[in-house]
């Protein structure tokens, strides 16, 4: 399948399949999952592909078991991943918190569908963006990436593994039903060389002794001679329980958050077009990015100074960069497939300095370019009046 040209393979892939190809290319060798629409093709393709590269696919008894097995495999020495959607992601939340606390690198694929509850199993949604950041109990930080195409499903999943390993944190790929079930051309570089896990020095080894930047140095595995103690109870640098030691617990909790938030500048991934003189900028992410770009182009054709942003990493929220990129604009429009969540993050970032308008769409349908363009035109007219 596919042909190799200029050191890259070009394939026609479904978004869900592109995620699997990226995971395999990134060195993922363990996947545990449970069937759920619209993420099942991730599991199906993993079941086919992983054994071909010596990897393990497990269909577990439930979603909880899937994320727990994934974390176990990560400490077992393999890059590991799980995938689900809607209710399944809710069930995984305790595992996400555990992975955050013990600093297990794992990738969690969420092919978002409409919710709440069983919701709209076959229709798109972006209602899990806040859940990705806040879904488990306690204070922690994660990283989340949002693809808007099959190519980005590949590129951002590959990147998710690199970030997860580097920061030793759960990383979400917040894909969605449209990306997951769209089939389009995907370019797969032939010479990808994923980062191998760095092994910490064994001399004076302490599993939770962080470097000055808050990050742990490498990822030890079981049966490699470290005699690891990994505990979901808050722990000291040796891994011993420390729930009775307020200073130790406070320090760990703060580090778990700041190891991500302190590196927010390095975790910016934004694409932009038409920003130079833009007065109205559409701030987009995930599937609505595509009608957004069309709408901006069409508005430009009508003489409106519209601009376009696509946030490919949504958490940590790129507030500093967003403020910088939108400095010249009067109005920001935020189309999203939920009741209006990220719009509040944008408002918080710009601090009342400009008009920020949400363009919420519910019901499982994507915005049309016309709907977004109409909002751009409405705001343009309001400005000139």
């Amino acid at each position: 399948m596919g042909q190799e040209v200029n050191n890259e393979k070009v394939k026609i892939l479904q978004g869900n399949e592109a995620i699997v190809e990226a995971a395999v290319a990134a060195g993922c060798r363990f996947f545990a999952g449970y069937p759920i629409t619209p993420a099942s093709e991730v599991a199906e393709t993993m079941a086919q592909r992983l054994p071909q590269v010596g990897g393990v696919f497990m269909q577990m008894e439930d979603e909880i078991a899937s994320i727990c097995a994934t974390i176990g495999a990560s400490f077992g020495g393999l890059k590991a991943c799980t995938a689900s959607s809607g209710p399944g992601i809710s069930l995984k939340q305790e595992g996400v918190g555990y992975a955050s606390a013990v600093e297990a690198p794992i990738v969690v694929i969420n092919v978002m569908r409409g919710g709440p509850a069983t919701g709209m199993p076959t229709a798109v949604g972006q209602q899990d963006i806040m859940q990705a950041k806040y879904g488990s109990h306690g204070d922690y930080e994660i990283i989340a990436l949002m693809p808007s195409s099959c190519q980005e499903a590949f590129d951002l999943t590959y990147k998710a593994f690199e970030l997860s390993e580097h920061y030793r944190v759960p990383v979400y790929v917040l894909s969605d039903e449209i990306v997951g079930h769209t089939r389009e051309k995907v370019r797969i570089p032939a010479n990808l060389s994923p980062v191998e896990r760095k092994k910490p020095a064994k001399e004076n080894f302490q599993p939770y002794k962080a470097q000055a930047n808050g990050l742990l140095d490498g990822m030890p595995g079981f049966n490699e001679g470290y005699r690891l103690l990994i505990d979901g109870q808050l722990h000291d640098e040796q891994g011993n329980r420390a729930a009775h030691l307020p200073d130790v617990c406070a320090r760990l909790t703060e580090r778990l958050c700041r190891k991500i938030s302190d590196h927010a500048d390095q975790l910016v991934d934004i694409e932009s077009s038409y920003l130079e003189d833009a007065e109205i900028i559409v701030v987009s992410f995930g599937s609505p990015s595509r009608p957004s770009l069309r709408a901006v182009k069409d508005a430009r054709a009508k003489g409106i100074k519209a601009g376009y942003l696509k946030l490919r990493i949504i958490w940590p929220f790129p507030e500093t960069k967003l403020v910088e990129l939108t400095a010249g604009a009067r109005t920001l429009i935020v189309p999203e497939l939920n009741i209006g969540r990220v719009v509040n993050e944008v408002k918080r970032a710009v601090g009342g300095q400009k008009e920020v308008v949400g363009l919420s769409k519910l019901g499982g349908l994507l915005h049309t370019p016309g709907e977004i363009q109409a909002e751009i035109e409405r705001r343009a007219q309001a400005c000139t009046r």
Partner: protein, 273 residues
């Protein structure tokens, strides 16, 4: 400290957090002897659930994962499948294993994955203060069954066997020698092995259910309520009512072990690719 304690316990984690006379320490004691006899310290992956017994592996100086309530077997599954050469031991209480983790337990047994589950059965949720458990005898009064437990208790060994476990044994902490031997057999067994340990909980089950906090009295009561599986063969149902069978209850070496079976397929798929 016993020389095996010196050799196998994490010194900086001591003293053990359990109440005086708790059976978890005896199980720890039996486990380090089994590990010593098998000589497999460097191949071990230990997983503890949540509850008093989940702390047993935390004290053993090997590779240890202390996980979420009920989820020890899935974590263990990930560890086993990421390297089929390791020997994975799960320590789980009766609430952790049969209550919140019941689904994982039956599916681990169904797969016959090479994991050893040591289930500590003390009839109660001890760490949370003495609430009714899936193993609490019917009519027992606990903090959450103040009018007497209206439910029937699980029989962990029968559940394990019916679900597909290929090694099943039950002992009590009054049988430390047999217990240590059973743990070694279970670890050595290729497949899902289950060792249920009936044990005394002086602080919670003792005071709340049995009206005494004396560990020796409680353990005598537990022991008196058991009968060896061999001796039970000649007994009538009436004679066995309410008794726990002890000994090796099931040992099947024929059924294929999951990780080995699956890895053969993986090797073939990888070779064909």
């Amino acid at each position: 400290m016993h020389p095996l304690g010196e050799k196998y316990l994490r010194k900086n984690a001591l003293p053990l957090l359990w109440c005086p006379g708790c059976g978890n320490g005896t199980i720890l004691n039996a486990t380090v002897r089994a590990i010593e006899n098998l000589g497999i310290r460097d191949r071990l992956a230990l997983v503890g659930g949540i509850g008093c017994s989940g702390w047993i592996p935390v004290y053993i100086d090997a590779d240890t994962l202390h996980v979420l309530h009920g989820r020890a077997i899935p974590f263990a599954t990930g560890l086993k499948m990421s390297d089929p050469n390791r020997k994975v031991i799960v320590f789980s209480g009766d609430g952790d294993c049969l209550g919140i983790g019941g689904n994982h337990f039956i599916h681990g047994a169904r797969r016959n994955i090479d994991i050893t589950v040591i289930m500590v059965h003390n009839q109660i949720y001890g760490m949370t203060g003495g609430q009714v458990a899936p193993t609490t005898p019917t009519a027992s009064k606990t903090k959450t069954s103040p009018y007497g437990n209206p439910e029937m208790p699980f029989n962990g060994c029968e559940l394990a066997r019916a679900s597909g476990a290929t090694y099943v044994a039950r002992w009590t902490t009054a049988h430390p020698r047999q217990l240590s031997k059973a743990i070694a057999e279970a670890i050595d067994h290729q497949g899902f092995s289950f060792v249920e340990v009936l044990t005394q909980c002086p602080t919670q089950a003792g005071r709340v259910i049995h009206g005494t906090a004396d560990p020796a009295k409680l353990l005598d009561m537990i022991k008196a309520n058991t009968i060896s599986a061999n001796a039970a063969k000649d007994k009538s149902a009436e004679e066995l009512a309410g008794k726990f069978l002890i000994g090796t209850l099931h040992h099947d070496t024929q059924r294929p072990e999951f990780a080995g079976y699956y890895y053969e397929k993986i090797h073939k798929a990888a070779a064909a690719n």
